[in-house]
């Protein structure tokens, strides 16, 4: 056990080093305006931090992302459960889910700005981008619930709430985790995208300015920040997941 932890730590480190090395090599072929080196990127990140811009922008983005994704979870969980439980509801809502999935941000953008105001557009875009992920995964999850356990619960006259929370939910959980894992990544990307197109502040807005000014190291620095945010939320999710599925270790 200890050995394999060390081994995996070592391999993770090795894979990081490999990645940085590759990046360094590639950056050697291009001018910094196209591919800045890791050093230059970190420097740009340092400058952003020193200038105080980093936390202001990042704070905006993080807030919007978390709010948006929470809204998607709050709406998506009941909708997904209902769509999984009832074929009728599924058939009614499925076209809307597909529409949400398929329509590019550009098509919503103007309406979203008019309806929600500029600062809330990134939140809206996050909701729109992650909601279908949550719903689709939950629908699959519910459809794969073990019917024998449902029968058991019904035989013992278990209340509907308990049936959903204690029988359905644990079985749907892995699907929900897949959705959350995919959704959190999408969240950061969507926030940046939306800010890029509409907002005054936020990581995406910072990227837009840097791009116009051909400040590629700064674009990369913002990107690096996004990756770090992604890694942190991914890790957090992993820990929560492990907690909630501890019973599996019994097998």
């Amino acid at each position: 056990m200890i050995n394999s932890t060390w081994l995996s730590k070592g391999l993770s480190l090795l894979s990081l080093i490999f990645f940085l090395g590759l990046w360094q090599v590639i950056s050697g072929f291009y001018k910094p305006v196209i591919v800045p080196s890791p050093m230059e990127t970190v420097q740009a990140l340092g400058n952003l931090m020193a200038g105080g811009k980093l936390w202001e922008h990042a704070g905006n983005s993080i807030g919007r992302g978390l709010i948006g994704f929470s809204i998607a979870l709050l709406i998506g969980t009941p909708v997904g459960l209902l769509m999984g439980l009832s074929k009728l509801i599924r058939q009614m809502f499925q076209p809307y889910v597909v529409t949400l999935q398929v329509v590019p941000v550009i098509s919503w953008l103007l309406l979203a700005m008019i309806w929600f105001g500029f600062e809330r557009v990134p939140i809206f875009v996050v909701v729109i981008s992650t909601l279908p992920l949550v719903i689709i995964n939950l629908v699959q999850g519910v459809q794969n619930v073990n019917p024998r356990l449902t029968e058991m619960a019904k035989t013992f006259k278990v209340e509907r709430r308990a049936l959903i929370v204690e029988v359905y939910f644990p079985q749907v959980l892995p699907y929900l985790f897949a959705a959350m894992s995919a959704g959190l990544g999408t969240t950061w990307k969507a926030v940046a995208m939306a800010e890029f197109l509409s907002a005054q502040r936020g990581i995406g807005a910072g990227m837009a300015t840097a791009r116009i000014n051909l400040e590629t190291p700064e674009v990369f620095a913002w990107t690096l920040l996004l990756v770090l945010m992604g890694l942190i939320t991914d890790r957090a999710l992993y820990i929560v997941n492990r907690r909630l599925t501890r019973w599996r270790n019994a097998v």
Binding site: L110, M113, F196, A199
Partner: protein, 298 residues
């Protein structure tokens, strides 16, 4: 209406893209044309949608827009007028190849930002006027910043770019030279100037606050003159607000043609420009060249 009695609004909102021609607005803000009576807010917008949304919601009184976009909004029933034209020359053809005439472009790949937008159409128009047919060149489209990056790296040799990217490219890749200034080329074939961007105003604002409008027009003109006369006086402001290096800004100001002309005086040039675009692609101007109401009365 009691509101009509008040000569000035509490606050005036101007939106503009974060580009060198917007610099005079910074200067104007600094000049405080209304003293402390009226606050002026400058918003830098990032996309057409953003600008349109503010116009629709009445959240911006003045908007700096490409002239054809302004015409388009006007013909789509937006309640706006063109107040002035401020940007005349901002597009350039750059190349690292040895090119001195339009004919030399034959067989070359030309990179252009934003397919279907005015740079694309003007390029095609000028090519045609100089007897280079569309199948004799290869037009490639991408975002302007990406094209600039490729020019710098030498991955593209010929491109049409706006300022400040032109300055940026020229300073980073000495092999690339400016070949054509599109404004001059336009003048050569059209005998008319090339109006690129101007400021539109909400008609409600025109009716309610004629005096304020007048002050804005005058002080904008003044700020434009001050800025072109001494770009270094706003360079630090530009660096702060646009994140644009002061040097890049000053160099691009030396190249571009930023000049305040009120709508009535610019009408002939605008009319000519829009009718040329209309020939090429009616959608670009909204299906028809706008009538007199488009131009703010003096």
């Amino acid at each position: 209406e009691p509101a009509a009695e008040v000569p000035y609004p509490e606050k005036i909102v101007i939106q503009a893209p974060p580009a060198p021609p917007t610099a005079p607005l910074l200067k104007m803000l600094e000049n405080k044309p209304f003293g402390d009576k009226v606050a002026i807010e400058l918003i830098l917008y990032k996309s057409v949608e953003e600008a349109t949304a503010r116009i629709v919601n009445g959240e911006a009184d003045f908007t700096v827009l490409p002239v054809n976009t302004a015409s388009k909004l006007f013909s789509k029933d937006m309640d706006i007028s063109l107040a002035n034209v401020s940007t005349w020359g901002i597009l350039y053809l750059l190349s690292s190849d040895n090119i001195s005439s339009w004919q030399d472009l034959k067989g070359k790949e030309i990179h252009v930002g934003a397919q279907g937008a005015s740079p694309d159409i003007i390029t095609q128009y000028l090519l045609g006027k100089n007897e280079v047919s569309s199948n004799e060149v290869i037009l490639k489209y991408a975002g302007s910043p990406e094209i600039a990056q490729m020019l710098i790296q030498g991955l593209a040799s010929t491109a049409v770019l706006p300022e400040p990217l032109v300055t940026n490219v020229l300073s980073k890749n000495p092999n690339v030279k400016q070949v054509f200034d599109f404004e001059q080329e336009w003048q050569r074939v059209e005998d008319s100037s090339l109006p690129q961007a101007g400021m539109v105003v909400q008609n409600k604002f025109v009716e309610k606050y004629p005096e304020a409008l007048d002050i804005i027009q005058k002080s904008y003109q003044q700020a434009t003159e001050q800025t072109t006369a001494d770009p270094s006086s706003v360079a630090s402001l530009v660096q702060e607000k646009f994140d644009m290096p002061a040097k890049v800004f000053e160099n691009s100001m030396a190249r571009i043609d930023v000049r305040f002309v009120n709508a009535q005086d610019a009408k002939a040039d605008v009319d000519n420009y829009l009718s040329k675009l209309l020939q090429f692609s009616p959608e670009m101007v909204g299906g028809k060249v706008p009538d007199d109401k488009f131009y703010l009365a003096k």
